[in-house]
C-alpha cells in the first residue's frame, strides 16, 4: 500500500507513526466516520506496531489545544485569544526584551520530534529573524553524547550507519544501555530473526529488562560504569588476540594510546568498579572474539552521563579494534530515541550547528549558509549555550523563550530548578499540540498542527529520510509551526525567507545541506515516496543514497577512523550515607518522552505507572510493599511514587520512569552535571534516598 488511494468511501494515507525514531510505517484510513490506524508494510517495521502506534489516531480527536492562549496579566489565567492577538503579544515580548537586553535575551528551545522542515525553519528563525545565539533543543538530552563521539571517531554522526534490517545478519549484537523491547518494540523483530539464524545477543543494563530477558548473556553493571566495562572488554580482546591488526593499521589512527589505557584494566579491576563478575566479562569477550560479524549499539543508558561521550568513544574503540565499522553486518551505532532525533540534530536547531551538520564556528560553513539565506555571514550569530545551560540562564541572560515541540518542565534534569527558571522569564512563548506542563506556564501559547494534520519529512534512526503525509484537516484556529514562525518573523520585520509550505522549506533545506556531511541535496519527496525513503548522504538526484556508510573510508581528513583515549570514570554522584541508592530513569512502553501525548490517551494512561522499581531486599529493609507510596529524595528535590517490588533490578539501584510531571516527576531528582564535550546532563545515575510515605 503506497501513496494515497481509495477503496469505496475510504481514503488511505501512507504515513508514519507520530512517536519514536523507528517511525513505523502505518496507514491512516479516513472517510469511515473516524480515523483508523492500519498496518503498512515498511522496511523497518514490516507492518508491526506497538500499542502507542495502534492507538495514535486518538491523538486527533482527544484533548488538544484548539485556540491560541494568552496570559493577559502576570499571575492571571491563560485565556483564549485570536491568532493575531497572540502574534502581537509574542512580538511585543520579543522586541521589548531585545531592545532592553540585546538580541541574545531571546532564546529558542526546539525539539527532536519536529519535522526536518520545522527544525530547519526554527534554526533559521533564531539566526535570521531573532539574530540570537541562544538556541538549543531537547535532543541535547537524548543522544548528544553518542553524536559527539561518532563525530570525533568517524567524522560524522548517523545513528545507525547501516539499515536496521542488517541487525538480523549479525553474528553478535551487544546492546549497551538499551531497552529496545519497551522503547522501540517493533525493532525487536530484527533481534528475533538474528537469534533464529544462530546469532547471539549480549545486553548490558542495571535492570533485567524485557530486552535483557531475550539475551544470551546479560551483564548487570553498576549505573554509570559502562565506560569501564568497554575498556575491560578491550583489555580482554587484546589479550585474546582479537584485534584486527590489519584494519587498525590501514583504516584507523591512534590505537596505541588506547591500548595503553586498556592494559591497566584487567578483569578483577573491572569487576570492582562495575560489579560485573570477571567470569561474566570473560564470557562476553569470548563471544566477541568468536563472532565473525558483530554490532555494538549504545543507547541512553550508556550515553546520559557526565562522561557519556567518553563512554560512547570507549565502545567505538572496542568496535574499531575488532575492525567492525564499515564491514558487512557489523559496526557501531546509537539507537536514537526521539521521532526525528536524527534529522533534528542535523538542520540547525543545535547551539553550535547550521543545516547539513555545518558548524557555526567554521567560516566556510557560515558563508555557505549565509549565501543560501541571502544574508551577510557577519550577521550570523556565533555558537550559543547548550540546552541545560540555556535553561539554567533563563530570567538572567535570556528573558524571553520560544519553545517548540518540547516539554522541559518534565524532561529536563533538575526539573524543579528548570521550572523555577521558566517562571523567572519575562515571557514564555510555547508552540504545542497539547497543554503540556510547559505550555501551562506560558504567557502565549500557539496551538500547532500535529503529525496527521500536516506533511513533512523525518529522518529515522537509520538516517533514512521519510515522508509523513497529511491525512486530516487541522482544527480551524490551529496553524503549523511553519506558519507561526513565518508570521512571527513578519511581525519582527523579516517578511521574506520563511515559506510555510513544507515542500518549499525542504527544497531550501536541500540547498542548505548541499556539500555538508548530512547532504540531502539529491533527496526529493517523490524519491522518498518511490524508494521507501532515501538514506543520506545523497548529494545529487541520481545518487542512490547511502544505506551503508564507511565501507571504503571515513569522512575524516585522512579517511581513517580515529581512536580516542577514554580514561575510565564513574558517575559524578556516588551513593553515600545520606543518599544510599542509585536512581536510574527511563521509559515505559506505553509512553513517549514527557508523556504529554500518551498520557492523554485513555488506553495508554491506564497502563501501570508512574512507579519506582525496588529490589525485594531493599523493600524489606525499608518495610516497603508493592503499592506503598514512597518518597524519593536527591540533593535537588523529591518525588512521590508507588512502589513496585521487582527482583530484576540491582539491589543498590532503583528505577523510575520519567514520563510524569508534578509530584511524580523523576527529573526533579536527576543530576544536571554536564558532559564536557556533548553537554549532556548526567540523567542516568544519581544518588537518592528512599523512604515510606504510606501503605498502599
Amino acid at each position: 500500500m503506497r501513496g494515497t488511494g481509495s477503496r469505496a468511501a475510504e481514503h488511505v494515507t501512507a504515513t508514519h507513526c507520530p512517536y519514536c525514531a523507528l517511525q513505523c510505517g502505518m496507514s491512516l484510513v479516513t472517510g469511515t466516520g473516524g480515523v483508523e490506524v492500519r498496518a503498512r508494510d515498511f522496511p523497518t517495521n514490516r507492518g508491526g506496531m506497538c500499542r502507542k502506534g495502534w492507538t495514535s489516531a486518538r491523538l486527533l480527536n482527544g484533548e488538544r489545544l484548539t485556540v491560541p492562549l494568552i496570559r493577559r496579566e502576570p499571575g492571571g489565567l491563560l485565556e483564549p485569544a485570536t491568532f493575531d492577538e497572540a502574534l502581537a503579544a509574542a512580538a511585543t515580548f520579543i522586541r521589548t526584551a531585545q531592545r532592553t537586553f540585546g538580541r541574545d535575551a531571546v532564546g529558542v528551545f526546539g525539539g527532536g520530534g519536529l519535522t526536518n522542515e520545522k527544525c530547519y525553519a526554527l534554526g533559521k528563525f533564531a539566526r535570521v529573524a531573532l539574530r540570537t545565539k541562544a538556541i538549543d533543543y531537547n535532543g541535547r538530552f537524548c543522544m548528544s553524547s553518542a553524536a559527539a563521539a561518532a563525530q570525533r571517531a568517524f567524522g560524522v554522526d548517523r545513528g545507525l550507519p547501516f539499515p536496521l534490517a542488517d541487525l538480523a545478519r549479525a553474528s553478535l549484537i551487544v546492546l549497551v544501555g538499551s531497552n529496545l523491547a519497551e522503547t522501540m518494540p517493533p525493532a525487536m523483530q530484527w533481534l528475533s530473526h538474528q537469534r533464529e539464524s544462530g546469532g547471539a545477543l549480549i545486553v548490558i543494563d542495571p535492570r533485567r529488562t524485557g530486552t535483557a530477558e531475550a539475551a544470551d548473556l546479560h551483564l548487570q553493571p553498576l549505573p554509570g560504569t559502562d565506560l569501564v566495562l568497554a575498556t575491560g572488554l578491550l583489555h580482554l580482546l587484546i589479550a585474546g588476540g582479537g584485534v584486527d591488526e590489519q584494519y587498525v593499521e590501514t583504516r584507523t589512527t591512534g590505537f596505541d594510546d588506547v591500548r595503553g589505557i586498556a592494559a591497566a584494566w584487567w578483569p578483577a579491576r573491572v569487576e570492582r568498579a562495575t560489579g560485573v563478575p570477571a567470569a561474566a566479562l570473560q564470557r562476553a569477550a569470548r563471544m566477541l572474539l568468536g563472532a565473525p560479524t558483530a554490532m555494538i549499539l549504545t543507547a541512553r543508558g550508556a550515553e546520559q552521563h557526565a562522561h557519556g561521550t567518553d563512554t560512547a568513544l570507549a565502545w567505538i574503540n572496542l568496535a574499531l579494534a575488532r575492525g567492525l565499522p564499515g564491514r558487512r553486518h557489523s559496526g557501531y551505532g546509537t539507537l536514537t530515541g526521539q521521532g526525528n532525533g536524527q534529522g533534528g540534530r542535523e538542520h540547525g536547531q543545535k547551539a553550535d550547528q547550521l543545516p547539513g551538520y555545518r558548524k557555526l564556528a567554521n567560516p566556510a560553513d557560515r558563508a555557505h549558509i549565509a549565501r543560501v539565506w541571502g544574508i551577510d555571514p557577519g550577521d550570523l550569530p556565533g555558537p550559543g549555550p547548550s540546552a541545560y545551560e540555556l535553561l539554567d540562564a533563563l530570567g538572567r541572560d535570556v528573558r524571553v523563550l520560544v519553545v517548540a515541540g518540547s516539554n522541559p518542565v518534565v524532561s529536563a534534569p533538575n526539573a524543579a530548578h528548570v521550572e523555577d527558571r521558566l517562571r523567572g522569564l519575562d515571557a514564555l512563548i510555547v508552540c504545542d499540540v497539547v497543554r503540556s506542563e510547559t505550555a501551562a506556564l506560558a504567557d502565549v501559547v500557539f496551538p500547532v498542527t500535529q503529525w496527521a494534520e500536516e506533511s513533512g519529512t523525518m529522518t529515522n534512526l537509520e538516517g533514512r529520510v521519510l515522508l509523513r503525509r497529511q491525512a486530516v484537516a487541522p482544527p480551524p484556529q490551529v496553524h503549523s509551526d511553519l506558519e507561526v514562525i513565518a508570521a512571527l518573523a513578519r511581525r519582527l520585520g523579516v517578511s521574506r525567507g520563511f515559506p510555510t509550505e513544507p515542500r518549499e522549506v525542504f527544497t531550501e533545506l536541500r540547498a542548505a545541506s548541499a556539500g555538508g556531511l548530512a547532504d540531502y541535496a539529491g533527496i526529493t519527496w517523490e524519491r522518498i515516496e518511490a524508494e521507501d525513503g532515501v538514506f543520506w548522504p545523497c548529494p545529487h538526484t541520481d545518487h542512490p543514497g547511502t544505506p551503508r556508510m564507511f565501507t571504503d573510508s571515513f569522512p575524516t581528513p585522512d579517511g581513517r577512523a580515529r581512536f580516542h583515549p577514554a580514561e575510565p570514570a564513574v558517575s559524578t554522584e556516588e551513593p553515600d550515607e545520606d543518599y544510599p541508592l542509585w536512581l536510574v530513569t527511563g521509559r515505559l512502553l506505553a509512553h513517549y518522552q514527557s508523556g504529554a501525548q500518551t498520557r492523554r490517551i485513555a488506553e495508554l494512561a491506564s497502563s501501570p505507572g508512574p512507579f519506582v522499581e525496588v529490589h525485594p531486599v531493599v523493600a524489606s529493609a525499608l518495610e516497603l510493599a508493592d503499592g506503598d507510596l514512597a518518597r524519593l529524595a536527591s540533593r535537588r528535590g523529591s518525588a512521590q511514587l508507588t512502589v513496585r517490588v521487582v527482583d530484576t533490578i540491582r539491589p543498590d539501584t532503583i528505577f523510575a520512569p520519567f514520563h510524569w510531571g508534578g509530584a511524580m516527576r523523576a527529573n526533579t531528582l536527576t543530576d544536571p552535571t554536564l558532559d564536557p564535550v556533548s553537554r549532556m546532563p548526567a540523567f542516568k545515575a544519581c544518588a537518592v534516598r528512599l523512604s515510606k510515605l504510606e501503605a498502599g
Binding site: 508491526g48 525493532a187 596505541d256 563478575p277 567470569a279 497502563s607
Partner: protein, 494 residues
C-alpha cells in the same frame, strides 16, 4: 618556572601518578616531570605477567603508554636508569648513569623485590642456579617462558596468590607442576583452613599437587636445577624451580637518605614521607598507617592521592587506606578474598561478628561472608561465584546490607538459557510485550472461540508489534484448544 617532579620507579604506581598529574589542568605549564625506571622497556602492568607466563597474552600487550604519549605531555622517560641516592640537602637524586636531577617533588614508586629463602644450592655467586627463578619482572617472566619450553616438571615454592597463579600458568603450558608451601594451608593470609582445603582439592583435581606444611631446604643440581629437597627430606625432581615467597619493599634509597622507614617508607595521609614532605612514597614501597599492601589497586589509589598532593597540596579527603580485594586469576579457578577473610570470628571469640557460609567441597565451592554492624567486613568467594561483583561492591562501598544475606551468596551468572514451555506461562506473564497482552488474555480469547493466531491478534493485538511472540501465542492457542476439546469430549461423554 615549572616545578620539577621526579618519579623514581616506572611500574603501575609511577605510571598512574604521571597520568593523574598530567591530567590536571595546565599540567604541562606547571610541571616538568621525569620518570626513572631500571627496567629498560618502559612502564608496564605487572599484574598481567601471569597471563604472559600462561601463554594467554603476548608480551607486548602489557605496556601502558607509548613514547609518544609521554612526549605529548612533555614527560621525560629515562628507561634503564636507576636512582642510586637522594641528596635531600641539594634536593636532587643521583642516577646510576652518573647524572644528577634536581626535584621540587620526589615520588618514590620503587616497588618491592622478591624474597628468596636462604637455602643451600640456590645461589651460584650472585646469580641463581640456572633453572631457578624469582617471578617478579617482565625479564624474569621472559626468561621463565624461554626455559619452560624445555621443561617437563616444575616446582613452585610458595602457595600464595602469585605462586598459585604461576603454577597454573606453567601447567597451562603442559608442564607438570607441584606447589610447596611452608605454612599449614594455602593462601594462609587470605583463607581459613576450610577454604584452603577446598582450594587444594580443586588444584589437585586439575593436576597440580600441593605439599603444605613443608618448605624447601635445598636445591639439587649442578649447572641446571635437578630437584628440590623438602624439609621432610623428600626430593621433588624438576627442571624448573620458581620462588614466590613474598616480597620486600624497596626502601634502601629512602633509608639511606634518613627518611623514616618501617617495612616501607612511612607516609602520612597525603602520602608524604613523615620525615620530608617534598618526598612522597606510593605503591609497594610505601607504608601507610602500618599497612604495606603489595597490591595493584591500592597502588593505583595511592598514585591518585599523591598526584593530588603534588598538584593541590593534598587530596580532597585524607587518604585513609585501601580496601584490598585479592583475586586469584587462573584458568578454571575463580577466587576472591577480601577483608578479614582468613580468621573465624567465632573461634576468636568475636561475638559481634556474624558469619554466613556455604561450603560444597565436592563441587569446589566455598563462600563466606563476615558481617559486623550490618556491613561486610570480609568475604571469600570461591567456585561458582555469580555474585562476586555484588559482594565486592558491598565490601568496597560498605553499604548497609539488607537483612536477607542469601542474595549475596547465590545469584545469576548473567547467562540466559533459551527455550522454556510458553504454554506453561503464568496468567500474568506478558506474552506480547509490544501490546501488553498477558497470557490470561490469550487463554480467555481461546475460551471465547479464537482458533488462529490471526483471531487472537484481532482481539488482543498480540503479535502485531515485533511479532516475536507468534510462537508463544501459537503454543498457548494449541494448549487452549486441546483443553477445550477435552472439555467437549467430557461434555459429550457425560
Amino acid at each position: 618556572m615549572r616545578r620539577q617532579v621526579v618519579v623514581a620507579g616506572h611500574g603501575l604506581a609511577g605510571t598512574r601518578f604521571v597520568e593523574k598529574l598530567c591530567g590536571e589542568t595546565g599540567a604541562a605549564e606547571k610541571y616538568e616531570v621525569t620518570v626513572l625506571g631500571y627496567e629498560t622497556r618502559g612502564g608496564y602492568n605487572r599484574v598481567l605477567l601471569t597471563e604472559v607466563l600462561a601463554g594467554s597474552r603476548a608480551e607486548g600487550d602489557v605496556f601502558l603508554h607509548t613514547p609518544r604519549w609521554y612526549a605529548d605531555r612533555g614527560v621525560t622517560v629515562r628507561a634503564g636508569v636507576r636512582v642510586v641516592a637522594i641528596d635531600r640537602n641539594r634536593s636532587a637524586v643521583f642516577c646510576d648513569d652518573g647524572t644528577l636531577i634536581g626535584y621540587d617533588h620526589l615520588v618514590l614508586a620503587t616497588g618491592s623485590s622478591p624474597m628468596l629463602p636462604p637455602i643451600r644450592g640456590l645461589r651460584r655467586g650472585d646469580q641463581l642456579l640456572p633453572g631457578c627463578f624469582a617471578f617478579r619482572t617482565l625479564a624474569d617472566c621472559a626468561a621463565l617462558v624461554a626455559a619452560a619450553g624445555q621443561a617437563k616438571r616444575a616446582v613452585v615454592v610458595g602457595g600464595g596468590v602469585l605462586g598459585l597463579e604461576a603454577a597454573r600458568g606453567l601447567a597451562e603450558r603442559g608442564i607438570r607442576v607441584v606447589v610447596v608451601h611452608r605454612p599449614e594451608f594455602l593462601m594462609n593470609n587470605q583463607l581459613d583452613a576450610e577454604a584452603a582445603t577446598v582450594l587444594r582439592r580443586v588444584l589437585q583435581d586439575m593436576g597440580t599437587a600441593c605439599h603444605v606444611a613443608t618448605g624447601a631446604s635445598a636445591v639439587e643440581g649442578d649447572g641446571w636445577v635437578a630437584g628440590v629437597r623438602l624439609s621432610d627430606r623428600f626430593v621433588l625432581d624438576c627442571e624448573l624451580l620458581v620462588f614466590s615467597c613474598g616480597t620486600r619493599p624497596n626502601v634502601q634509597l629512602a633509608a639511606a637518605a634518613s627518611l623514616a622507614t618501617g617495612r616501607g617508607v612511612l607516609v602520612d595521609d597525603a602520602l608524604r614521607s613523615i620525615t620530608d614532605p617534598r618526598i612522597l612514597a606510593i605503591g609497594d614501597c610505601a607504608e601507610h598507617r602500618g599497612q604495606v599492601y603489595g597490591l595493584a589497586l591500592p597502588a593505583l589509589e595511592q598514585a591518585a592521592v599523591a598526584a593530588a598532593t603534588v598538584a593541590h597540596g593534598g587530596p580532597p579527603v585524607p587518604y585513609s587506606g585501601s580496601r584490598p580485594v585479592i583475586r586469584l586469576k587462573a584458568d578454571g579457578i575463580d577466587l576472591a578474598a577480601m577483608g578479614d577473610s582468613c580468621d573465624d570470628p567465632h573461634e576468636t571469640g568475636d561475638d559481634a561478628a556474624e558469619v554466613v557460609k556455604f561450603v560444597d567441597p565436592v563441587r569446589g565451592t566455598y563462600k563466606k561472608l563476615v558481617i559486623r554492624n550490618g556491613r561486610l567486613t570480609g568475604a571469600v568467594m570461591f567456585g561458582d561465584v555469580g555474585t562476586v561483583g555484588t559482594v565486592t561492591v558491598a565490601y568496597d562501598r560498605q553499604t548497609a546490607l539488607p537483612p536477607d544475606r542469601l542474595h549475596l551468596l547465590f545469584g545469576g551468572s548473567g547467562e540466559r538459557p533459551r527455550g522454556g514451555d510458553p504454554a506453561a506461562l503464568p496468567d500474568d506473564a506478558l506474552v506480547c510485550l509490544c501490546n501488553s497482552v498477558p497470557a490470561a488474555d490469550i487463554r480467555a480469547c481461546v475460551a471465547r472461540g479464537a482458533r488462529s493466531v490471526a483471531d487472537v491478534a484481532g482481539r488482543t493485538r498480540a503479535t502485531t508489534g515485533c511479532g516475536t511472540c507468534r510462537g508463544s501465542v501459537a503454543a498457548l492457542l494449541a494448549a487452549g484448544c486441546a483443553a477445550e476439546e477435552e472439555t467437549m469430549r467430557y461434555a459429550k461423554a457425560g
